[in-house]
Symmetry: none
Subunit: 200 residues, 4 copies
DNA sequence: AATGAATGAGATTTCATTCAT
DNA sequence: AATGAATGAAATCTCATTCAT
């Protein structure tokens, strides 16, 4: 009658199933083109169940954003605070963001394509968190500039936007089944970034 | 009775008004969030008139794409075929695409955010034309690689995707009323691109 | 400059082309499913031209009805007033109506399927003319009854409805490219009618 | 609190109400002339409710067809498999189909007038079922022919089409408030059919 | 005689959400 | 925790007809 406190194997919970299908469908067809009906059918739950866990369709989209933001931020913090020279850490950070982006391409596609579909309040939340992320990345570049490792011909925030544009764009052309794996691509992108910054 | 041969000022034609409002509204709220009703009201025409000129809402979106594609392509062709060293021409091309992008930011926002909302057949058309554009840009980079002006550590097509990601992203942060004008920004972006390619 | 009074060959006139295409399209898709746009395109004329010759779409449908009514009536009159015994003339009339029906199957399909789509006033006109047609046919049967050639177990007007139901139905199953030609079928139908009426 | 196990009267369910009103309105004005708006107002339900139970307007029409097809088929099977001579059973079948047709005149009117408005796939389904029905009827005639009770001057399938044309046509002239009731009319029609088939 | 741009009403369908159970 | 019937507003698109030329 009672359930074991820690079942060894369970099929994913209702909210998890919804989140997974939402990510897949929103990336594939776009937030506005996915109806709640389709979504719950894909997740194998009922509408009522969905509205039990999420207050709205918008809420589901926001949940996807939170998952991405959390993951990216925690990884970047780890790298920035890790050891090594600034060029080395910037290279690692750039390479890592490429790798995690291609590993979670659906999330990225949603991230940039659907931000304007969140409610204004939640858009602000996401932008604020995103800004913190960019600032952390920028601080790394500024550190290199101060140390004279990087030139200062181009303002650091422009470099950051320049680089993250490239990242953002990955969802539009990178295919996991191609000949290029995430690590290689991360290497190339990090090399391009470092090359464009190197002093001299 | 007779019309002046060259009227100095005319109110824009119905399709032109529709195209202008569509561009503005699609960029601002997203294709799916703009209703035909809103659109025709903004353009000051009736729904019937709209459907007289455009077979569907999708058709309007496609018309926006065609306008952007034509403009970008013709400018690039002019630069590529112009005179000067390869580095010089690449710098000019990169700088120009930044400038025209920020001058037509609405179109750019639509371009990348709404491509998946076009009918599949039209998506193909747009992608094909876009590919031709990228290939022309890439041919310039390859020319520089063959001449030894650019290093070959990173494949040319990856460089192209890297750079156009940055362009694509402009719509997400650049504001015309900021302190940075298009020419300056074009200079920065072109410098970053050239720096990341320079041999040695 | 002037046109010859009797040109040897001309492409059909605008109203004729419209009438021909209307008949074909109304039979194929149903009056309500054929738009004026489709119709004028199929006829190779413009909308304005159509409205020059026909006051409305309904008017076109009515023109189709008039053509059918006129043809059927004139043929029946000729047969009824022709010579021969009553059984012979009824057989000829029955056989002929089958033949002309399968020769003009589109018209028949329209006749029975779209009558309720005519304006009420025109419906009355058609029904009145149709009634005259049925009455003429019935008079032939009644003549045979009076002469004792046909039995009177079933009222003549019921026989008429019975028979014309069969005619009406031809459009739902008869195919011109089948193995049965109109004359054969007319023979069968006339035989069935006569058999069901024969006295004794 | 508890519901009676067998409530004596309940207001018909939403889909039942819709089906009843659809039958009435489609017969009266034609499928294409009845808007969903009119329909749901007549049934006293909302549009949303209608689309909850029926996937389209077409679906409603199909539901009408299914009801008619089921009823006709089950009655015919019962008669064909019943006892008695073949002439007797054919007379009973013919008479019964007249009776049930005039008892459900709306359905019949819809049946023949609107078949071409169903989606192609559903038209096929209906035609297939209708063919099965005709074949059963034909098998009775063929049985009589083999036994020598009926002549073979006219092929059995033509007789079937001939007779069902008459049935089909009932909706165009029979009025329930006239002086002729369904049983009488059924008698007449069955007599005419048998007379036209009788050997000798 | 003929054009074709323009109208405006109305068509079917979709959808996020609510709520009694 | 979960159901699924029901809502009602809004969506895109169609269409017969008119009218200035």
């Amino acid at each position: 009658m009672t359930q074991p406190a820690e079942p060894k194997t369970v099929s994913p919970s209702v909210p998890d199933r919804l989140l997974a299908e939402a990510t897949r469908l929103f990336a594939q067809h776009g937030f506005d083109r996915v109806s709640v009906q389709e979504l719950v059918e894909a997740a194998g739950v009922t509408k009522g169940a969905m509205y039990h866990y999420f207050t709205s369709k918008d809420d589901l989209l926001f949940a996807v954003y939170q998952r991405v933001l959390d993951m990216q931020m925690s990884r970047l913090v780890q790298i920035v605070e890790g050891g090594g020279g600034v060029a080395e850490r910037l290279h690692a950070a750039a390479s890592d963001v490429v790798q995690t982006t291609v590993d979670n391409l659906d999330d990225t596609v949603i991230f940039f394509r659907s931000l304007h579909m969140l409610s204004p309040g939640r858009q602000s939340e996401v932008r604020k968190e995103r800004r913190r992320y960019h600032e952390l990345f920028r601080s790394l570049i500024e550190e290199g500039m101060r140390e004279g490792v990087f030139h200062e011909k181009v303002p650091a925030d422009i470099v950051v936007n320049y680089f993250f544009g490239s990242i953002h764009h990955l969802g539009m052309w990178y295919r996991a089944d191609g000949e290029l794996d995430g690590a290689q691509l991360g290497g190339y992108y990090a090399d391009l970034l470092l090359a464009s910054l190197r002093a001299g």
